[in-house]
């Protein structure tokens, strides 16, 4: 199974994401988002930084947790200039998500980064389950 692929959207950018499990779906979505930011082939260089991401949100909607998870990574990326490439989800349930994200420090202004994501949107977002696992389509505002 492909982890994700970029999809066409007239004004913005989207990814279609797959995962055998919900956890894998969330990890692949994060990978997909950073591939949008700097192209899939991009290999970040530098010393590794590890961040713990914890989001507490009591909700029935995993879509809401997914958007919160990606928004949080985007926020840390913008604030601390860490480009994440590796994700490990420790727990994921209706109370939120706990995860480790690994990346490298990157000066956005100096780098030849590709696309600025303004936000992760809820547009038509629905996590679907079939015999192969989970999938969803996420649209970013760029």
């Amino acid at each position: 199974m492909k982890p994700f692929e970029l999809i066409d959207h007239t004004a913005d950018v989207g990814i279609k994401v797959w995962g055998n499990t919900l956890t894998e779906l969330f990890e692949n979505a994060a990978r997909g988002m950073f591939a949008v930011i700097a192209r899939e082939a991009y290999k970040p260089q530098g010393s590794k930084i590890e961040k713990n991401i914890e989001i507490y949100k009591n909700t029935d909607s995993f879509e809401e947790i997914l958007v919160n998870w990606l928004s949080e990574l985007l926020y840390v990326f913008n604030r601390e200039k860490i480009y994440f490439s590796d994700f490990k989800i420790l727990s994921l349930n209706n109370n939120g998500i706990e995860a480790q994200a690994n990346g490298v420090n990157l000066d956005l202004y100096q780098s030849n980064l590709y696309t600025e994501i303004k936000a992760v949107t809820f547009h038509n977002l629905k996590i679907e389950e079939d015999v192969n696992g989970f999938n969803c389509t996420i649209i970013f505002d760029v």
Binding site: L6, D8, H9, T10, A11, D12, V13, E63, E64, V67, N68, S71, Y75, N78, R79, K81, L108, Y109, N112, L113, Y114, T115, E116, K118, A119, V120, T121, F122, H123, N124, L125, I139, D141, V142
Partner: protein, 487 residues
């Protein structure tokens, strides 16, 4: 040809197409798309008409869910959408109806320079603008604001910049709302949003944001052009930018928090990105007070960018900006929600007008216009793509009658970013533009150039002809790009 849109569409006349209210159960009003036959064909292949229908679900929406001819598929709202909601009829405000880049907008600066006088200085000018104006992803600026300053920017808007010496009082007259919306409340802005706004004042940003040096190559309405101080052969400068990370974060915060309002206020919308709350609810009021902070920040930002650019002109021409005649023609917001007075039936009502990728276009005589534009109508600035033209129009009576004082905002994309990159694979867009049209382009990344290549956009002239023909705004002049700086 089979279109992606399979729903019904009624042709009202050569410029107007109606999506009947019966298209989807739950629509509170019909949809109305402004387009000609050829633009419509592109529009129907996009998912935008479905979004026009979805917006019609918003509680309290008045008359129509409107779409301008530059409409294209967005998220939640389409880009190029206008929706007015009535607070006295459970009307809602939707952060998605404004978008993430709150008060993304354009300003046009005129000069006394002619193309001949600019002559060989163009390249130096463009290079110096590129070096002196911070642009690119997440760029930080030289105009630094303390936390206290930031709060003042939120409340006072462009006036703050003028107070700091970035421009003169006269500039404020020529900004929509004089560069400051009343009722901004910094306490409604999250800590994260504050943080993201702090070091980005006076920065252009990336993507479709730009600063462009242009020449007026066609005048359509001599009288209005005179009133706007514009003439054929004149050098102008256009600045397109918004509220940067601050606006993104405010929209993000409120879209997330308003999702819970959908069940709280029993609101049924087909897409969560249309999350909204009644205008007069605590959540609705908080969003508007916060949105105004970002709107004021964006006006400050464009004011600072103009200041930086004037400074560059002074260096290149060795003259003061005022003796070069570098005066602001007007500054418009094209992503915003505003409480405005409009006629509904035979009553005047205060409505919340959402303009997402649409420009205010107040007609002659409107009380909100500066004295010098009272007879002409509001200048409407329509940027095109970097290879063809931009336009200046004037607001017309039709906009008040039909579109809640609104018109189009630009060319509108027709190719997705990835398709644009595919179409431009192996090409050097900057060289092409220079060889073909002598346009000097400077951009931070090659990717931006391909994404923003002229063929990624609809034909802006066609868009402008539709709003002109429909009587929403009148063509005044056309500008041709000479030099462009991109993020």
């Amino acid at each position: 040809m089979a279109h992606a849109w399979q729903g019904k569409l009624e042709k009202l006349d050569n410029f107007r197409w109606k999506i009947p209210q019966t298209y989807k159960s739950g629509m509170n009003v019909p949809g109305l798309i402004y387009a000609n036959e050829s633009l419509l064909s592109g529009i129907l292949n996009d998912k935008a008409p479905e979004q026009v229908a979805n917006v019609a679900f918003l509680p309290g929406i008045v008359k129509y869910s409107l779409a301008m001819p530059d409409i294209h598929w967005g998220y939640g709202f389409s880009i190029g959408g206008v929706a007015a909601t009535d607070p006295e009829n459970q009307g809602v405000v939707s952060p998605g109806g404004v978008g993430y880049d709150i008060n993304c907008g354009v300003r046009l600066v005129r000069s006394d320079l002619t193309l001949k006088e600019l002559g060989s200085k163009l390249e130096t000018l463009v290079n110096l603008l590129f070096n002196n104006i911070p642009s690119g992803v997440g760029s930080s600026g030289n105009i630094r604001a303390s936390v206290k300053d930031e709060e003042e920017i939120f409340v006072k808007g462009a006036e703050w910049a003028v107070k700091k010496g970035c421009g003169v009082k006269e500039d404020l007259e020529f900004i929509e709302d004089k560069g400051s919306m009343e009722g901004a409340d910094p306490s409604k802005v999250s800590k994260r949003a504050y943080e993201r706004g702090r070091d980005q004042s006076g920065t252009l940003g990336s993507g479709n944001h730009f600063l462009e040096i242009q020449v007026i190559d066609e005048i359509y309405d001599e009288k209005k052009a005179n009133a706007f101080n514009l003439f054929k052969g004149q050098i102008t400068m256009m600045i397109h930018s918004g509220s940067r990370g601050l606006g993104y974060q405010i929209c993000d915060d409120y879209v997330k928090s308003m999702i819970s309002c959908l069940s709280k206020y029993n609101i049924n919308v087909p897409d969560r990105q249309l999350a909204c709350a009644p205008i007069n609810s605590p959540e609705g009021k908080a969003y508007l007070a916060s949105m105004k902070c970002a709107a004021n920040y964006a006006w400050t930002n464009r004011q600072c960018l103009m200041y930086l650019a004037r400074d560059v002109f002074e260096k290149v021409f060795n003259k003061s900006w005022s003796s070069l005649g570098l005066r602001l023609v007007y500054d418009v917001a094209h992503n915003i929600a505003k409480m405005e007075k409009h006629k509904v039936g035979d009553k005047e009502k205060f409505l919340c007008v959402h303009r997402k990728g649409a420009t205010r276009a107040f007609p002659p005589g409107h009380p909100d216009l500066p004295d010098s534009y009272k007879d002409t109508g509001q200048p409407v600035i329509i940027p095109g793509d970097m290879g063809t033209f931009s336009y200046i129009l004037a607001g017309a009576a039709g906009s008040m009658e039909e579109t809640f004082g609104s018109t189009c905002h630009g060319a509108g994309r027709c190719l997705s970013r990835s398709n644009a990159i595919k179409a431009c694979h192996g090409r050097q867009i900057d060289k092409e533009l220079f060889n073909k049209s002598g346009i000097i382009v400077r951009a931070k990344t090659r990717g931006t150039l391909a994404e923003e290549a002229p063929e990624a956009y609809k034909n802006v002239s066609e868009i402008v002809n539709v709003v002109h023909g429909a009587g929403l705004s009148i063509k005044v002049a056309r500008m041709r790009p000479l030099g462009v700086i991109k993020g």
